[in-house]
Amino acid sequence: MLSVRLLSNRMDNLKQNPNPEAQELNGAEIFIRCLVEEGATTVFGYPGGAVLHIYDELHKQQEVNHILVRHEQGAAHAAEGYAKSTGKVGVVLVTSGPGATNAVTGIADAYMDSVPLVVFTGQVRTALIGNDAFQEVDTVGITRPCVKHNILVKKVEDLPLAIKRAFHIAGTGRPGPVVVDIPKDVTEQSMVFSYPKDPGMRSYQPTLEGHTGQIKRAAKLIAKAERPIIYSGGGVISSGAHEELIEFTRLTGFPITNTLMGLGAFPGTDPQFIQMLGMHGSYEANMAMHHSDVLIAVGARFDDRITGQLDGFCPYAKVIHVDVDPSSISKNFRAHVPIVGDAGKVLCALIEELRDGKHSLPDISPWWDQIHEWAKKDSFAYQQDMDGEIKPQYVLDHLYQQTGGDAFVTSDVGQHQMWVAQLYKFTQPRRWINSGGLGTMGFGLPAAMGVQLAHPDELVCCVTGEASIQMCIQELSTCRQYGLPIKIINLNNRYMGMVRQWQDFFYDSRYAMSYMDALPDFVKLAESYGHVGMKIEKPKDVEPALREILSLKDRLVFADFITDPRENVFPMIAPGAAHNEMILS
């Protein structure tokens, strides 16, 4: 079989080129050709010994654009930002050893948040593997628990199929990161190149169509619901199913809440939207979850930050759970109607089933009355004293108003992240880019680079804090090199805010190591990289400062907002509590 195929390749080559020898490519050239075949024309990376052949080929060509980061973690997060904001597979290229280990945090982040990435890591020569060679680590071993799949390429003949499979696995089913480890000698070896059309994987076939019987059962349950709620997550965005979600929600007239990762799939300004749920979700969303009788979960995974104490979670609900990953269903919470499938396809099938006329949709106006009653708590409200310190929420409120909810917003991790999720009403998917599952401080700035490179003419804001931003601050240099006009909104409260909040609540306000001493002058720091730096200290300056920041369209602006160090995120469900046990202030 193989020899026949090789022969036919040679025949094709002979037709195209009378000299078959000219068609032999080395591994590094093949690598580039494979990226072009996959349409992966933006690569985030950092060179090193094991990938020098590849970098040499990158240097010789124009089709693949390489973005040089300042730390490999930044490359992985930038590729995540690129992937999350476009839906395409993000590509990373790093060297062996420390290049690979530095990328691991980003790979784990992508794994937790189901971000499609292909991460190419250089490896020492095959003859040296296992010898503790210079810059050798067992990359496949180290990354195994935090990848969807990984592949060590042992000879050049395996390279095209490995890359084909990597892109296929990363981007289909429940997306995730795939690591392809390429020893240096593989990039030197030559062969006649052809790119496989089919990944040919008998053991990997994601189920996309929902089971018809289960869809009928779900429709029956929906038709009988008195207190229904739709709880949708990042899976809807990954699947590109936001239109189906909107149609389904409008058709049923049910209230909808989104997870942190699901924000933007349903317009945040819509009256059917009852805000985010979970640990820092709205009072009405969590109360509605708690009292619901039918819970329709779509592309969400019942994470502990959503459910709180599982014993007290949704005690009255029959659960319909739609997910493309069977292992997400009934992992944490038992589903009564499990439906394995792609969110978009299953929602379409549900819409058809409900429109069929066999079911009449329930009148749930008493339920809506109750929800509107809960919503009166206005649980995300805050008070800004115009003579006092700047409230972080006040900055975000104005950012929202001045951008009309249309900006791409990345964030780091902590209080500021929760406030963006609460206050910025995203109306489109793929605009809210944050690290949910792994909770990676340092994510925001490199992710914003990936977003800005994918959308050069759009406004990209990175909301961060003075602790998070310092974890990947070196990327200010990358932003300078590629002229990325990101707007950094630094909510500087001189504390690791969320750590301090937990210490306030659960450790009698003993602030063990949660303060940020010896902070740099962020204005000077930004200026030293060639960016614009601004410091805003008074509430009355917030609005005009934001106008100025947003008007500087072609410059990166680092806006250092000095905010109230005592502000905490409310509501809050304490660990071990249920949805009806929120702390409101």
């Binding site: 496949v140 696995i169 053991s203 076939q205 292992s327 009934s330």
Partner: protein
């Protein structure tokens, strides 16, 4: 509850550690694990024994399926199946006269003597895990110097055979 799973997986380097890693990452113990190539040399077959309730078993089965190298997973626990384990047991007999004693036990458990030296006998015995437990217990006053067990192998009874799943 004891569970026995049969798994077909791609015969590639790293496949075994993916499975082993999955169990340790999810905090579930593997009681025993055997893995060997199959007549189709692109596949390996694994028999795995673990403990857990229905929820854990459902989750672990799904997680195994999720591994890209895993082709098929079957829970043999719930179905009629044949299970066999092999053990080699090195014994120091109480006295020379007790060989008859060992042969009597061997007769009951279909064991045989695989090796003899001046001081020790090594028995081999094949059976269910319980039979092997019972055989070892039946050694009574003979000193058990060393035991090595293969871990169980499992196969479904009747015509049903573990094969490559054709789409889901």
């Amino acid at each position: 509850m004891r569970r026995i799973l049969a798994v077909l997986l791609e015969n590639e380097s790293g496949s075994l550690s993916r499975v082993a890693n999955l169990f340790s990452a999810r905090g579930i113990n593997i009681e025993s694990l055997t893995v060997t190539p199959t007549p189709d040399e692109t596949l390996s077959r694994m028999t795995l024994v673990t403990f857990g309730d229905d929820r854990i078993l459902e989750q672990i089965t799904k997680q195994l399926h999720k591994l890209v190298d895993v082709v098929t997973v079957v829970d043999l626990t719930g179905q009629n199946h044949v299970e066999r384990e092999m053990a080699l047991i090195k014994l120091r007999l109480r006295d020379e006269g007790s060989v008859d004693d060992l042969q009597r036990v061997n007769k009951v458990y279909r064991g045989r003597i695989a090796d003899v030296s001046a001081l020790c006998y090594t028995s081999e015995v094949v059976g269910t895990s319980e039979e092997i437990d019972a055989y070892i217990a039946a050694m009574g006053e003979h000193e058990v110097v060393e035991v090595v067990r293969s871990g169980p192998l499992g196969i479904a009874r009747g015509e049903q055979a573990l094969s490559i799943r054709q789409n889901q």
